[in-house]
């Protein structure tokens, strides 16, 4: 496409969240696979469904234009299902491993849908959506995949009500919390950090038993269990924090929070913020770690409201001063606002969805690869199928070791019949 043609195409400014994800120095590739049982559909059948369900979604046609200084979204034309839907014969594990550290090429809208043949994780084939995080957040991936099934359910009424605008005191408190120094996961043995991906299935009875912890309480949500299990996994793998590189710096996990409200439940893009939560790596005992995580996560909705109501609007206003502001904030974030891990729990509403009559049996996430010294965890649920994906930027194969350690934490909760008293 020539420059003269480009000049006629409307160019849309990236949102603050889009831009932070674009320039944070990470590959920024995320994914969500839906695993089905039954005969694999012909690729053209999938392309037809994609064209039918996604052609009307402007975000899916957007291309990142960086030709004229600064980045803008443009829509040079409709996406081409032939180019965007492909067969990946190697398998889902191989697709995730090949995608996680390789940004999608420019020139086309930065997403691809792969038809993945071969039995994996209890199914016979998978439809795997891979995208640049700059274009779509995790909730967007779930929304898109749900529109591909035979009878898409109406959007959930679950979106949070519009948040009440928080006060400046709360904003100041959150700003201090966000900018507190955190440390990375140690590289042991020392060496160059490498990307690795691991997927593990969690036993349903184990998860059911685990979520009844702590005994006598309301139970634990999947998100609470995941964060606490990650804290336990880090302790099991690297020991107490006092033995880490920076013994006095806390270890944080980044918890993505969807900011959609009832008025934009199915909006595509990056309508999300990230709240840093301290990981109780030094708390003894898995049940006490779970309690600590529940207490920390209870503050997240109000903190996310501060992001949406005060900090994001302020950042947008400051950003208009010049693009250097975003780079400055992002650079500062790299050094001080470090989150050693990122943790996301994804629940697929309903359990009886099908694609061309093939039953959905599982979803498998691909969280983004972050900076060296980090690991990202995604725990996906469809009905009774729970699947953990770990993406690490640590020593080779650390993703597998951390995934196994998380599974062990769930097993420990499941076997715990007399947890310590609160």
């Amino acid at each position: 496409m020539g420059k003269s043609a480009l000049l006629k195409i409307p160019r849309t400014r990236l949102s603050y969240a889009d831009e932070m994800l674009l320039i944070n120095g990470c590959p920024g590739v995320i994914g969500l696979a839906a695993v089905f049982s039954g005969e694999r559909p012909a690729p053209d059948r999938v392309r037809a469904r994609v064209a039918e369900r996604w052609s009307g979604l402007e975000r899916m046609h957007q291309v990142l234009d960086r030709t004229t200084g600064g980045a803008r979204w443009t829509v040079p034309g409709p996406f081409d299902p032939e180019a965007h839907v492909a067969v990946e014969p190697a398998g889902l594990d191989e697709l995730w491993a090949a995608s996680v550290d390789r940004p999608l090429p420019g020139g086309l809208p930065p997403w691809r849908l792969y038809v993945v043949p071969g039995a994996a994780y209890g199914g016979d084939f998978a439809l795997a959506l891979v995208a640049q995080h700059t274009l779509l957040d995790g909730r967007s991936l779930a929304t898109l995949m749900r529109t591909l099934v035979d009878e898409p359910a109406a959007a959930r009424a679950a979106a949070r009500p519009a948040p009440v605008r928080p006060g400046l005191r709360a904003a100041g408190r959150e700003l201090r919390t966000m900018t507190a120094v955190g440390q990375s996961v140690p590289l042991r043995p020392p060496g160059e950090a490498r990307a690795s991906v691991a997927v593990r299935e969690l036993d349903v009875d184990t998860v059911r038993s685990a979520r009844r912890q702590p005994a006598g309480g309301r139970g634990a949500t999947l998100n609470e269990l995941l964060v606490a299990a990650v804290a336990g996994a880090l302790r099991a793998r690297y020991g107490p924090v006092r033995d880490w590189r920076a013994r006095d710096e806390p270890v944080y996990t980044a918890v993505p929070c969807d900011l959609r409200t009832r008025t934009n439940t199915t909006e595509l893009g990056n309508t999300v913020t990230v709240v840093r939560v301290p990981l109780p790596v030094d708390v003894d005992g898995p049940v006490d770690r779970l309690r600590a995580c529940q207490a920390a996560l209870a503050t997240v909705p109000d903190r996310a409201a501060v992001h949406a109501g005060v900090l994001f609007p302020a950042a947008e206003a400051v950003r208009r001063t010049g693009p250097w502001v975003t780079r400055l904030l992002t650079g500062r974030g790299r050094h001080t606002c470090f989150a050693a891990t990122a943790t996301t729990a994804l629940k697929w509403p309903g359990a009886a969805d099908t694609f061309d009559g093939r039953r959905l049996v599982r979803t498998v996430g691909l969280p983004p690869l972050q900076r060296p010294g980090t690991a990202s965890f995604a725990l996906a649920q469809v009905g009774d199928a729970f699947t953990l994906t770990v993406v690490s930027h640590l020593r080779p194969d650390d993703a597998g070791r951390l995934a196994d350690a998380v599974v062990t934490e769930f097993g420990t909760w499941a076997r715990t019949t007399t947890p310590s008293a609160p």
């Binding site: 959930r156 679950a158 979520r211 009844r212 634990a220 629940k347 309903g350 359990a351 649920q381």
Partner: protein, 93 residues
Amino acid sequence: MEAEHGDVWEALRPLCARVMSVPAETVVPHARLVADLGADSLDITELEVASEEMFGVSLRGTDKSGVSTVGDVADLIVRLRAGAPGLHSPVGR
């Protein structure tokens, strides 16, 4: 009151099953929303919104303690419909 409780329960049971993506037979009065039915924060919010539309009462508020089972939610809805003052959101996040 008993008849109203029965009506609320009949409507609440399939609602909980749909929102939490669980079989209806698992939705029993003593089932805990989080521990037994696996509810997450979005499920709880959806349950609150749907309850407002279905029963005409607002479950949202500030008190997040005291209610943890489906039966507790049914009791709360009945009390709210009867006009009991000072009742707020029932479930923890």
